[in-house]
């Protein structure tokens, strides 16, 4: 059934279709409607789950972890300050290898306080052991929440997963979304059968227990290997979803008009969508530009990005956050993956910080800059602040 809905609705609806057993959440702009919609679904009797109202995000994540540790399929959602307040328990979730799924509506982390799109809330959590997916439209929000449980609950993975969507640009924007029928969702996503952690009075076990140095290093290796292994699972789940529903997102990355492209721009989130239009326009002018949508920052699509670099003369990375003193986090990741594998110019473009509109002309500037880098073989400017008053771009 296709309906015109917001990204927040798409996330809440997908949680309902995933038949999650427990939702524990605390409202925060711009995530609020995810929680509101779920509480309505529960109230209306169309969603059968335990809805726990908690007093903070720290408690929301704690309750979600506990629920997941009993073998329930658990869900929560947050944004910005809420995610920061969860920080401590995020490590508990991944350390206990609990397949929690959490949409994060990416919003400015204060100060200064802002409610608009920025990815500086999720970037500090790159080391928390969560799979980090980034989506570009509301259909992908819906589809990714369903795929997320398949990925997270796979016995080769067993890691929690965040689905990142841009504040307002998706969360509060309506567009047509094919909302899944229950029988289709059930066919794609069977119920969760936990094997490693199942708190049950009949079968007592301890999870996340006090662990001396003899064991933690091996635990860390296990989690690292699981994150590496999730790459294969992400691709398999993507392919199966595509076969069943006809929507193929390409797995870890999606390449757009990359055949014979001389330069590639790597994008995260909704800027990808606008960039498609820019690529089409520039292609019509005969400029050989291509787009690579980075769908995951954890696990990082190292092989895919290396393959892209081997085919182009310059590469650029778009960021909606800044790691002070270095550059955009997505850029840091790409550069690290490419170290020793390429000598083409790599440049970083910061735009849309604090929710500033990323215009078609901004993205055009990025591509034209990349074409110049490709021609000269040199990086004109490593870190380019787009549209920043008083800063040369």
């Amino acid at each position: 059934m296709k309906r015109v809905v917001t990204g927040n609705y798409a996330a809440a609806f997908a949680a309902m279709r995933a038949r999650v057993n427990v939702v524990a959440a605390f409202p925060i702009t711009p995530q609020t409607f995810i929680v509101e919609h779920i509480s309505e679904f529960v109230n209306d009797g169309i969603m059968d789950c335990e809805f726990i109202r908690v007093e903070s995000e720290h408690s929301a994540m704690s309750a979600t972890v506990s629920a997941s540790a009993t073998g329930a399929r658990a869900f929560t959602a947050t944004a910005s300050q809420g995610l920061a307040l969860m920080h401590e328990i995020l490590f508990t979730a991944s350390g206990m290898r609990l397949p929690i799924v959490m949409p994060v509506v990416n919003r400015t982390l204060a100060a200064p306080i802002g409610i608009w799109a920025e990815m500086n809330d999720v970037m500090p959590e790159r080391d928390a052991g969560w799979i980090l997916a980034f989506v570009e439209d509301n259909q992908e929000v819906h589809d990714m929440v369903l795929q997320a449980y398949r990925i997270a609950e796979d016995n080769r993975v067993l890691l929690p997963m965040m689905v990142n969507l841009d504040a307002f640009i998706l969360s509060h924007t309506v567009e047509p979304v094919d909302l899944m029928e229950p029988e289709d969702a059930d066919r794609f996503l069977p119920s969760y059968k936990p094997e490693h952690a199942y708190l049950d009075p009949e079968r007592p076990m301890g999870v996340g227990i006090f662990t001396p140095p003899e064991y933690i290093q091996e635990e860390r290796y296990q989690t690292h290997a699981a994150m590496e292994g999730s790459k294969q699972v992400i691709k398999e789940v993507n392919d199966e979803f595509a076969k069943m529903f006809g929507r193929d997102y390409g797995g870890l990355v999606e390449e757009y008009r990359m055949d014979d492209a001389e330069v590639a721009l790597l994008t995260l989130g909704t800027v990808t969508s606008t960039a498609r239009e820019v690529v089409d326009n520039l292609r019509a002018e005969g400029k050989k530009v291509g787009l690579v949508k980075v769908r995951f920052l954890r696990p990082y699509p190292t092989d895919e990005i290396r393959s892209v670099a081997s085919r182009v003369k310059a590469i650029g990375i778009y960021d909606r956050a800044i790691s002070y003193g270095v550059g955009g986090p997505a850029y840091i990741e790409a550069r690290s993956a490419l170290y020793g594998h390429t000598d083409i110019p790599i440049s970083n473009y910061l735009a849309g910080i604090g929710g500033r509109d990323v215009m078609l002309s901004d993205i055009e500037f990025m591509f034209n800059d990349l074409l110049k880098n490709a021609e000269s073989g040199k990086v004109r400017k490593e870190l380019v602040w787009i549209n920043t008053r008083g800063v040369e771009q």
Binding site: F168, T270, T274, M359
Partner: protein, 302 residues
């Protein structure tokens, strides 16, 4: 593709109107997107919402800068905001006002349509919520979507949010507004719209850590105390009329006023008098004072 910009105030439902328009266009086989731009989120503050419609999937995620159509839910905004900014030649402005389109000088090479959507809403819904009525006016003035589609859009967006019965009422309001909408060619502006300058400091001028002190800029006063210039009473629909003869100086209105707009008028010797004064520069017309007044000394009037 056509693009629409909605001008409203927080609480008037501009966002729902934009969404219902998207749903309406979608019901006619189009792809459609609608999204808000919020400033500080609160009732009464000016808000923008956008709808973008195309026959194929829309990828552009930017705001709308060159709309084909503009919808104004509150005519008090006409003096505050240049509603025709970026409007394409041949574009249409749909305004909720009691005025006739000929009375509005919004510019040449555009069409202006007006409807008393507040009047329609009070009549049909019993509340001054104009977001459904204005959609009927939009359908009539632009022809970009059919009235049938508008009804579908309202049933979808309003129905799912506030219930089917209220949605049906809103459809009736939209139809009534459709019938009462009149259009005329735009008249040239009597004087150019004076755009209020915006304070846009560069990285050297911006106070470190956002720690701004009160200062005068070419955009007016910035920082603490800036509300002295930013009068917020303009978005009232109803105004409190006080009959001080009935006032017993109980101060309940003073306690309940969420905006701190009520002051007690003292005697000459500074003791309380039986009377209050309301600061209409900031009163939003919420009516709480009238509701709380035990002697019915305050009445809300349009």
């Amino acid at each position: 593709m056509f693009e629409v910009r909605f001008h409203g105030r927080g609480g008037q439902g501009a966002v729902m109107a934009a969404q219902a328009l998207a749903s309406a266009a979608f019901s006619e086989g189009n792809y459609a997107v609608a999204f808000p731009y919020f400033g500080a989120e609160r009732r009464g503050a000016p808000v923008l919402a956008f709808t973008r419609v195309d026959s194929k999937k829309i990828y552009r995620k930017t705001q709308v800068y060159e709309p084909d159509f503009v919808v104004v839910l509150d005519d008090s905004l006409l003096e505050m905001v240049d509603v025709t900014e970026g409007l394409k030649d041949g574009g249409v402005v749909v305004v909720n006002t009691r005025k006739k389109p000929e009375e509005l000088a919004l510019g040449e090479n555009i069409k202006v349509a007006t409807v008393d959507a507040t009047g329609v809403a009070l009549e049909v819904l019993g509340q001054p919520i104009t977001n459904s009525s204005i959609l009927g006016a939009f359908a009539k003035a632009t022809g970009a979507v059919s009235m049938d589609a508008i009804e579908k859009g309202i049933m979808d967006i309003f129905g799912n949010k506030i219930g089917m019965k209220i949605a049906e009422k809103n459809c009736r309001a939209a139809k009534a507004a459709y019938d009462r909408t009149i259009s005329a060619d735009g008249r040239p502006r009597e004087k150019e719209f004076e755009k209020k300058p915006k304070w846009l400091p560069d990285v050297k001028e911006l106070p470190i850590g956002g720690a701004g002190v009160k200062m005068e800029t070419n955009a007016g006063m910035i920082g603490p105390g800036s509300f002295l210039e930013n009068k917020t009473g303009g978005w009232r629909t109803f105004m409190p009329i006080v009959e001080n003869d009935k006032c017993v100086a109980c101060q309940l209105c003073w306690y309940f006023c969420p905006e701190g707009c009520i002051t007690m008028v003292p005697y000459d010797n500074n003791r309380f008098k039986k009377g209050i004064a309301i600061d209409l520069d900031y009163c939003k017309g919420c009516g709480i004072c009238a509701h709380e007044c035990p002697t019915h000394a305050i009445e809300m009037k349009r």
